[in-house]
Assembly symmetry: C2
C-alpha cells in the first residue's frame, strides 16, 4: 500500500510538473501551425547562461556610446543534460534577450546596467528541422509575435549576409552553439571533451 | 480515498523538494556556527535578475579598459513571492557574481562578453539579523570561503566608507535592494506600488 501510494505520489508530481509548465513535452520548444515556434513567456525563470554588451558581427563605424546588452537563457532540462554530458539534447531552446543599457549617477559613478528589452530571438536544436537546428526572430519588443517561422537559412547567394546556420556551424564552440560566451558551460565542455576541434 | 491520496501526494512532493534542495528551510540562506552564511553552490540555477558592467560606487580615475560584469541571482521561492507582492519575503538571498569581460575578433567585431569569475558576494533579508538585512563577501574566486560572517555595518566613523546598510537603505528602490537595476522586477514593483517614495 505504502509503495502504491509512493508510486501514485510520483505520478502526481509528474502530472503537477506538466500542468504547471503547460507543456506536455517538458520545457522544450513548442510549435503551432507546423514548425512555427511559440514565443516562450517564462524564459526569465530558465537558466541564465551569460550576458554580453555591444556584441556585433559587423565592424562598428564609430564607438557605440549606448551599446545593448544581450542575455541568453536555456530551458532547464537541457541545461541539466549539458552539465552531465557537455552536449545539447534534442529539443533544446535558447532565448536571446537584447536590452538597452543605462547609466545613473546618484548611486554609481561609472558603468552601465540593463534596462528596456528591445527584441527577442531564439535558437533551437530540434530534429524536426532539416539542419537539426533553427533560428527565430520574434521581432521588436513593442510588437513581439506570438509565434514565428524559422529564419530562412538558404537565402540567395550574394546578399553579403552569412546565414545563422553557416556562422554557428563555423564558429560555435560546441555543436552549433556559442558556448565560448557561456563561461560556466565552457568549463564543462572542456572537461567532457565536447569542444569542437575546429574551435 | 482519492482525496487522501492527493493530500499524500502533495506532502510527498513537498518532501521531495526539501530532499532535493538539501535545505530543510527551502531554497533560502543556510548558516553554520551561528550566523555565518554558507556559500550557495547552486545559485547559477536560481533566477537571474540582471547584469551590469563597470559599475562602481567611486568615480573612476580613468576610463576602465577592461570593466567587470556583475550578475545578480535570487533564490527562486523569493522571486516567486516578489512577482506576486512586489516585496521580498524573509529568508531571501541574493548572490552577486562579478566576472571579467573579454573580447574576441574572429566572430564578433566589437563588444565584450563574460569570462572568469573574480569573487562572490551575497545579501540576505533575514530577521535573525538586527537590521533585518546583512551582506557577505566570500572573497576572491581562487579562494572562496565555504562560509563567512556578515560584513560589520557599524564600522568606526571617519573611514570614508559608507556601509552596505546605509547605502542600500538610502538608495534601494524597493526595501534595501537595488531593484532599479533589475528591469523585470522594477516593472512589478511599480505595478504593486512598492517602489520607495524616497527613490
Amino acid at each position: 500500500m505504502k509503495r502504491a501510494m509512493a508510486i501514485l505520489a510520483v505520478l502526481y508530481c509528474g502530472f503537477l510538473a506538466v500542468t504547471v509548465s503547460g507543456q506536455t513535452s517538458g520545457d522544450g520548444p513548442r510549435y503551432v501551425n507546423g514548425n512555427n515556434l511559440v514565443r516562450p513567456t517564462n524564459y526569465r525563470e530558465w537558466i541564465f547562461l551569460g550576458s554580453s554588451i555591444g556584441m556585433t558581427y559587423t565592424p562598428p563605424r564609430a564607438q557605440n556610446a549606448a551599446p545593448n546588452f544581450a542575455n541568453v537563457f536555456v530551458n532547464p532540462s537541457s541545461y541539466r543534460a549539458f552539465m552531465q554530458t557537455g552536449q545539447w539534447p534534442d529539443q533544446t531552446i535558447f532565448v536571446l534577450e537584447p536590452r538597452r543599457s543605462s547609466t545613473e549617477s546618484s548611486l554609481v559613478k561609472d558603468g552601465r546596467f540593463q534596462s528596456d528589452m528591445t527584441g527577442l530571438e531564439a535558437e533551437v536544436k530540434d530534429a524536426r528541422f532539416a539542419d537539426g537546428w533553427a533560428w527565430f526572430n520574434f521581432g521588436l519588443a513593442a510588437s513581439l509575435r506570438e509565434s514565428v517561422a524559422a529564419i530562412d537559412q538558404h537565402a540567395p547567394q550574394g546578399t553579403g549576409q552569412e546565414s545563422c546556420l553557416s556562422c554557428h556551424t563555423a564558429h560555435g564552440a560546441v555543436e552549433k552553439s556559442f558556448v565560448q560566451f557561456y563561461p560556466t558551460l565552457l568549463e564543462v565542455a572542456k572537461q567532457k571533451g565536447t569542444v569542437k576541434a575546429s574551435y
